[in-house]
Amino acid sequence: MLELRSVSKTVGGVDHIRDVSLKLEHASLNVLLGPTLSGKTSLMRLMAGLDQPSAGSVWFDGKDVTGVPVQRRNVAMVYQQFINYPSMTVYENIASPLRVAGAEAARIDREVKHAAELLRLTPYLDRTPLSLSGGQQQRTAIARAICKNAGVVLLDEPLANLDYKLREELREELPKIFAASGAIFVYATTEPHEALLLGGNTATLSEGRITQFGPTTEVFRRPNDLVTARTFSDPPLNTIVLRKRGASFQLDGGVNLPVPAELAGMADSSYTIGFQPHHLSPTRPSPSAVPVKAKVSVTEITGSESFVHLDFADVRWVMLTPGVHVFEPDEVIDVFIDPRHMMAFDETGRSVSQRLAG
């Protein structure tokens, strides 16, 4: 188990990591999700031992490893830029950690062939990395990380430099590869979509802090606060600040929306209401859905879905709806918010709807 206890990292007066505590179990896949500069790379470097924390400690399997340099920590790391030894063949690249560890030739051969098989590199073992495509170079880097049999494998946005489709392919294969070894996997990404596809656990990061950590679908469906909800949505979360007065939500300017039954138990106060774009639809999903009149700004069509950008009371919302819907710009349409998935956050940003649901 890898444990971070109140770890902080300050460089030149700037806090990169603030008071992070985390427990990662063996044979688990953990996603670090957050925008650029939120601290994902800094955190991974602390886990690896490439940097020392300014405060707090790092523990592995019950032993304090905070001062231990990275060479002695048994971690493997895969980077965004495909990093391989350019002058060695793919075979040698994958074998390198075992050679350094002094394993005997028969074992090296077996493990390399196994890793190559897993990552579909067997026909390329004799080539050098630079003669391969980007996807294959990254597979080589991943194979090398696996061959190391490290206790902790860190992947820092490994698919970001790959084509869209290649990314999809590799992403499908990765969970299988992860499941095979028993290591702790930590995967950093900026895309919520990727976190959902990978499964496992997710830690959402914002400005050097971990806002929530738990099973991915939990964090996605039941965020504890507004920051987590925002970090985890793509397209961006639709929000609006409303005042609850009895059975209606009000906003200056005459906006008056009915409060759905699910949120009726809240105290009368000002809340930030948030909901995912796919919980807004042009047709009424249920009798208690909240109807809203909004103005269309622009419609984007992907063939299977439509993203409709709407303006409502000074905020911009995105509606994600299946099928092709063509709306004219500046058209005012009726849309409905699904009440079962409306989230409410109080003034400090903490989720109220969560607490209501119990």
Binding site: T36, E300, V318, V324
Partner: protein
Amino acid sequence: MARIDLDHIRHSYLANPRSEQDYALKEVHHTFDDGGAYALLGPSGCGKTTLLNIISGLIHPSEGRLLFNDRDVTELSTQQRNIAQVFQFPVIYDTMTVYDNLAFPLRNRGVPEADVDRKVKEILDMTGLSDRAGKRARGLTADQKQKISLGRGLVRSDVNAILFDEPLTVIDPHMKWVLRSQLKQLHHRFGYTMVYVTHDQTEALTFANQVVVMYEGEIVQIGTPADLFARPKHTFVGYFIGSPGMNVMPVAVEGRTARIGAQTIALPGAPAAQAGSMELGIRPEFVKVGKEGMPVSVRRVEDIGRQKIVRASLEGREIAAILGEDEEVPAEPKVVFAPEGINLYASSWRVEMGA
């Protein structure tokens, strides 16, 4: 704005190309209409950036001509062609302020200062950079820098076309949404001819009226996003567009039915007899999981929030299906193919299925 004609253009990076393989861009003959929004979509190495650079003048094509509004511009330099290009990585002049960065292309062309001021203010407003106008361009974030790059392209009102080379690569997912819709609004408002190169199908499909799908230097299909989605002409288009891509499985066709393993599927029409291997293509969106139909074994269910992707196996073939957020996979899962989503392919090219 201009109409762009690509007249039998071919390009090879080698000095003496001999065979078809030596050409990075195989023959392209196409017209981009004035004021249209086009996307060049394809994987790495498919030739889309080569084509874009030929249009902008950074590459001189080995063969063929390029015309803007019927005027031959093949021999003209980039400056003379009057186009704007936005690159993958923000290209800004570090030592200048944001205002000066945007004014640069206009000042180089001797535009009077009053007009420069007006145009720059307009673009600052549009990209939301007004409050940073006087600041040095150096200390800004990646998306702000990319906005400046973009702004420099838009500030010239007389451009023939605006070309984008994977411009949102360095941008965070949240910002991507904002910038994409702004680009679309820009297109609505000003009617520029825009050509957008990307390998991301969401970007291509949301941005363009017409998408040009390329593979290994060739244009495979040109069509509207809806067309490409519903009626892909080649299995590659089916695979590349849509996430997950189209399910393709080999079938044996007999009259109005297709047979896969022990299962038969009714086709919406009778295709003409074809030689060559026949495949059936159906998008996961049209594969309905329920209690009736062909039995499948479910390998994995991926929950991506708004949908669930069901990865299953039908008669030994991998197949993906989409389930709604609140739906469940039944105990004995079976699938039905919605007829409007069935496509037939012979040797990877689409076959019409009659009536």
